[in-house]
């Protein structure tokens, strides 16, 4: 088996530039019983070109963490540094329905400051990258769920960020489409050399995609354990190595969840 599934330690060499550097980040929200701690002392680095999945049950604050990295919210303590403004993809496609697929991408390019004559060809190139060459003039409602998420991916790529944040982007898709999009994302990640921080509650998805899986505990969210995934790509969900590592991580995740029923 080509699997390496040992907990890893932080690789915090000063020389490495990080796509994202999360240092001792905590976040609390005002709740019914005073301040409620959602994230507790999270430290995590994402190396350039690295694919990291954040895995956790509900209430682990994984989406909160992603929002913090995206700059949509501020941490209560600690610091977050990213290499430029990260791109963010949501569970819902979040495409603007008043624009065509192509115009959605062109708007992202415009907001990035790309000059008008270059926007159209660049949008075409990005659509080509997600294999939707003919979708430029299509309205959002004319596209299937999987096509929408691919346009959303193209729009995120249009931001030309070094870091792509993904918040359960395939959770609402059917299993067949999701499987195809896993392949697609892996291909695009390898072609572009992007760093990806991918949030999911799906263990197999995490193992299928990532070089490193970070397990968060719930309430408050803490980093419980990490695994580097050495299984060569392309991986399949049904690969034995994927299944074995998934089983190990699931066991750990269940342990984390069980702790909450005990008090």
């Amino acid at each position: 088996m080509a699997t390496v599934s040992a907990p890893v330690e932080e690789h915090a060499t000063a020389a490495v530039r990080h796509a994202a550097r999360i240092e001792h980040v905590s976040k609390s929200f005002p709740g019914p019983a005073g301040q409620q701690l959602v994230l507790d002392d999270i430290s995590l680095d994402v190396a350039p070109g690295e694919f990291v999945t954040l895995l956790g049950a509900s209430g682990c604050g994984k989406s909160t963490l992603l929002n913090l990295v995206a700059g949509l919210d501020r941490p209560s303590a600690g610091s977050i540094a990213t290499d430029g403004r990260p791109a963010l993809m949501f569970q819902e496609h979040a495409l603007f329905p008043w624009l065509t697929a192509g115009q959605n991408i062109e708007l992202a390019l415009k907001l990035r400051g790309v000059a008008k004559p270059q926007r159209r060809p660049e949008a075409e190139r990005l659509l080509e990258l997600v294999r939707l060459r003919d979708a430029h003039r299509k309205r959002v409602h004319e596209l299937s769920g999987g096509m929408r998420q691919r346009v959303a991916l193209a729009r995120a790529l249009a931001q030309d960020s070094r870091l792509l944040l993904m918040d359960e982007p395939f959770a609402a898709l059917d299993a067949i489409t999701r499987d195809v999009l896993h392949d697609e994302l892996t291909r695009i990640w390898r072609e572009t050399g992007l760093s990806v921080l991918f949030v999911t509650h799906n263990v197999r998805e995490a193992v299928r995609l990532a070089q490193r899986v970070v397990l968060l505990s719930s309430r408050p969210g803490r980093i419980a354990r990490q695994w580097t995934v050495g299984i060569p790509q392309p991986r399949r969900l049904e690969d034995t190595a994927v299944a074995e590592l998934s089983a190990e991580i699931t066991e750990e995740l269940r342990g984390e969840i069980r702790r909450h029923g005990q008090h």
Binding site: L72, E92, E142, V180, P234
Partner: protein, 299 residues
């Protein structure tokens, strides 16, 4: 079992496999939306209102024949038609209409120019919303005819008084429509906009305004209805030779001349203009916006 340990397929083969798979999925998931044929449109959209109008005319004529009311109270359809013909031959019919419509449209455009930024401010700035939001909604329930007496006293019997009444009627509708439209924007669009770097004015232009467009259009539609109603009220109450004869004055003149057919003519024209503007401007605009967003569900 062994497949996990075997080396990766050649990238080219794998790539084209994936592309083919994806193309298949896309084809299976796509829906073709066709256009309705013209015959069906005529049958379903034109026939019902024509039937309704014909029915009203028939009932009207029957009432006239049954002599339920004397001539000076209920003119026959033919008498009203004669009135149309007469003023058409005099060349005054279009003048009446144009006097009112040009006033109404100019007033509406002014209301648009004021109501839009006002709505944006109320929707986006908490202090402004708390300060004037309730007043703005309250103003909508105040009949704009109530503004005619003060407007006459403040501004005199002239066009600016008409425009003042239109603005007071239409601006709250337009602003409130925009506020409602903005409040209904899914928060996801705003977050997506912010991650793309659309903040401040850029955010308003590229995200907030287009996202709020359906609600805004509903506000515009209501704003136009309020403009038109306020204008008619102003024209009926405040008549002066300097103002020229609009449809409101035509109605008032008909009353003064005890010519019920002229009163009917004026009422029909007022109604007709209202329907025409809605049918020619607002409905197509609304349909286009909703269809573009896939919100127009065909049954």
């Amino acid at each position: 079992m062994a497949s996990t340990d075997t080396p990766v397929d050649a990238p080219g083969k794998d790539g084209s496999d994936l592309a083919g798979l994806e193309a298949g999925l896309d084809a299976l998931d796509s829906v073709e939306v066709g256009r309705t044929p013209l015959r069906e449109t005529l049958l379903r959209k034109v026939l019902p209102p024509v039937t309704a109008v014909a029915l009203v005319l028939v009932v009207w004529q029957l009432l006239v024949w049954a002599k339920v009311a004397p001539d000076y109270k209920l003119p026959s359809p033919a008498a009203v038609w004669d009135e149309v013909e007469a003023s058409w031959l005099q060349g005054t019919l279009l003048d009446y209409i144009w006097t009112s419509v040009s006033r109404g449209l100019l007033g509406f455009l002014l209301a648009l120019a004021i109501g839009t930024p006002l709505g944006l401010l109320v929707a986006r700035i908490g202090f402004v919303r708390a300060a004037i939001g309730p007043i703005l909604s309250g103003l909508q329930s105040l009949p704009s005819v109530a503004w005619v007496p003060p407007a006459v006293i403040w501004l005199g019997l002239n066009d600016s008084m008409m425009y003042a009444v239109i603005l007071l009627g239409a601006v709250p509708s337009i602003a409130n429509g925009l506020v409602a439209g903005i409040d209904q924007i899914p928060p996801l669009f705003l977050r997506a906009g912010r991650t793309l770097g659309a903040t401040g004015l850029q955010g308003a232009r590229h995200i907030v305004m287009p996202a709020a467009l359906p609600g805004y259009l509903a506000g515009l539609k209501q704003g136009w209805a309020f403009s038109w109603r306020s204008l008619m009220a102003a024209e009926i109450i405040a008549s002066s030779p300097d103002l020229g004869v609009g449809l409101g004055q035509l109605l008032e003149n008909g009353r003064n001349n005890a010519s019920m057919s002229q009163v009917f003519l004026a009422i029909f024209l007022i109604l007709l203009v209202g329907i025409a503007i809605d049918l020619l401007i607002f409905s197509p605009l609304e349909r286009r916006v909703l269809r573009g967003r896939g919100l127009l569900v065909k049954n």
